[in-house]
Amino acid sequence: MALFEAKDLHLRFGDRVVLENVSLAFEAGQLSGIMGPNGAGKTTCFNVLTGRYKPDRGQVLWQGEDITGRSPQAIARLGIARSFQLMNLFDEFSVFENIAIALPQTRARSRNMVREAYADAALVDEAHAILKRVGLAERAGDEAKSLPYGARRALEIGVALACRPKLLFLDEPTAGLGSDGRARLAELILKLKGSVTIVIIEHDMEFLFSLADRISVIHWGQVIAKGTPAALKANPWVEASNLGRLN
């Protein structure tokens, strides 16, 4: 059984069909990719999988359990975290606090109105460990909005990691990054691979082909192909839809 499964998702906005018959399955420990041109419905698909939108039809299964239509916070609490294509940080918080607020320990204490929020050594250590992983250890005290673009991208992933996810959705993590940034990001994702199940949306084919175990291609709201990177490269469909020239 796959760790996370989507079956026959349908979604319409008004008279526009955004997702049609989308079925996806992500195996534990693997790195899966979702690929497709802009406006193909990738981000919408993520939004359905993580509870932002409710599908009109279809099912979302987490470890076999039906979680369709649950709220984002309920899904997040199951251990499913996500990052955002357009950055979504706590801008006035320090880099440290961006991570600390997302930690499950903080969440467990969030009803507490009296004690100091981050006085716990274990919590502080975990936050710093995450900052180290995403390469922001030096910047723990800086305000999030003062960070340069690449560092904000890293923090975006750091906040998702802080949720201690079993499954991590990354929405276009390379958006806006130069080749340097991409290389560093690929390195980070390779380090994470194996310890957490990862799903990445990307339209940079090269980036995805070098990292993913399996890839699904979405176009016009439908899954038009899926398979290993090697298999997909040989797929005439993928060739025909011009995906290779999309970046």
Binding site: Q73, S94, E97, R115, H128, C163
Partner: protein, 336 residues
């Protein structure tokens, strides 16, 4: 690794504020003012601090907070007449009533934010105000609920009489100290930090697993409780309760106090704002009847040019002084 900045349980600013307020009855008459003014400032400072929990800390612009003050004010009087003439019971009833009112409002508006939040709170404020005016048999309507006694405060064996303004002032100061300490803790607690996170980014807060609605409802109820407590003390001070604290004007005054003082950037800003408001009323008001005109204009100017308020002006002055005082060691070519 450097530990994160944590807030000390008691800060110097806190002690200074308490001590300054504690000294007020000793000199306030010598500078030509009067004891009752101190009571008013202290009560509204507490109210503004409680209000800032919503505006400054949660980023929720409530324009109907007077409702909770009014509910507390009426409840303390009604409890005195109908339940028991015991100060603690009456105050507890006032806080409880304000909590119920806060919960009722929260039920309808906690999924909103921004301008919608402001408009819905105005509507609720008007509802409460309107009921207070029209429910004659309960509130006395526009004549007010009169003859509310300043009940004595009993601590075990000892009893303090609060009928003099100075005695009442020190009682209010004790409550103020307790409330400001509590608020300081709340703001730095896990709960308070999550609320602050929600202010900055509701979507992200949701996606890291927080039930945003509950936090927004909770912070409003909390703020309502403490506003109700301030209202209860206010009707003790006035020995009566009137609907005007619930009007849109009064609800707006607390917004003005909070902002003018610098509630958006400083914990103590609302206290400064409340003091500035009442001092302006009495000092400018002694010269001209249109003091609100001047206070209103300075509010407008602050909103336009320095929404961080008095505390913000002080902070940027302090920063500038720190910059000029620190000698430039090396040319800072490195731009971060």
């Amino acid at each position: 690794m450097a530990p994160p900045r944590t807030a000390p349980t008691i800060t110097w600013a806190m002690i200074v504020v308490w001590l300054v307020f504690a000294s007020v009855p000793l000199w306030i008459e010598k500078v030509g003012l009067y004891q009752y003014l101190g009571v008013e400032i202290l009560i509204f400072a507490m109210y503004a601090l409680a209000y800032n929990l919503v505006l400054g800390h949660a980023g929720l612009p409530s324009f109907g907070h007077g409702a909770f003050v009014g509910v507390g004010a009426y409840a303390v009087g009604l409890a005195q007449f109908n339940v028991a003439a015991n100060l603690w019971i009456c105050l507890a009833v006032a806080v409880g009533a304000a909590a119920v009112a806060g919960a009722l409002v929260a039920l309808f508006i906690s999924h909103r934010r921004g301008i919608y939040y402001a408009l819905m709170t105005i509507a609720f404020g008007q509802i409460f105000w309107f009921v207070a005016i029209k429910a004659h048999s309960l509130t006395g309507g526009e004549d007010g609920l009169l003859k509310i006694a300043r009940l004595p405060a009993t601590f075990g064996m000892t009893t303090f009489d609060l009928t003099s303004n100075v005695a009442l002032y020190y009682f209010v100061l004790v409550v103020f100290a307790a409330v400001s300490f509590l608020l300081w803790r709340i703001v730095h607690s896990p709960f308070g930090r999550v609320v602050k996170a929600i202010k900055q980014n509701e979507t992200r807060a949701r996606f890291v697993g927080y039930d945003v609605w509950r936090f927004k409802a909770a912070i409003l109820v909390l703020s309502a409780c403490l506003s109700g407590l301030a209202g209860a003390l206010f009707s003790m001070a006035q020995t009566s309760a009137f609907p005007d604290v619930m009007s849109l004007h009064y609800s707006g005054y607390v917004v003005m106090m909070t902002l003018v003082g610098g509630g958006l950037v400083s914990f103590w800003g609302p206290v400064i704002g409340a003091a500035a408001f009442f001092l302006a009323r009495d000092i400018i008001g002694a010269v001209t009847t249109g003091w609100m005109l001047w206070f209103g204009m300075s509010f407008v100017v602050l909103v336009l040019f320095k929404p961080e308020g008095i505390a913000g002006i002080y902070q940027s002055l302090a920063q500038r002084r720190a910059k000029t005082a620190a000698p430039v060691v090396a040319p800072t070519s490195q731009v971060r």
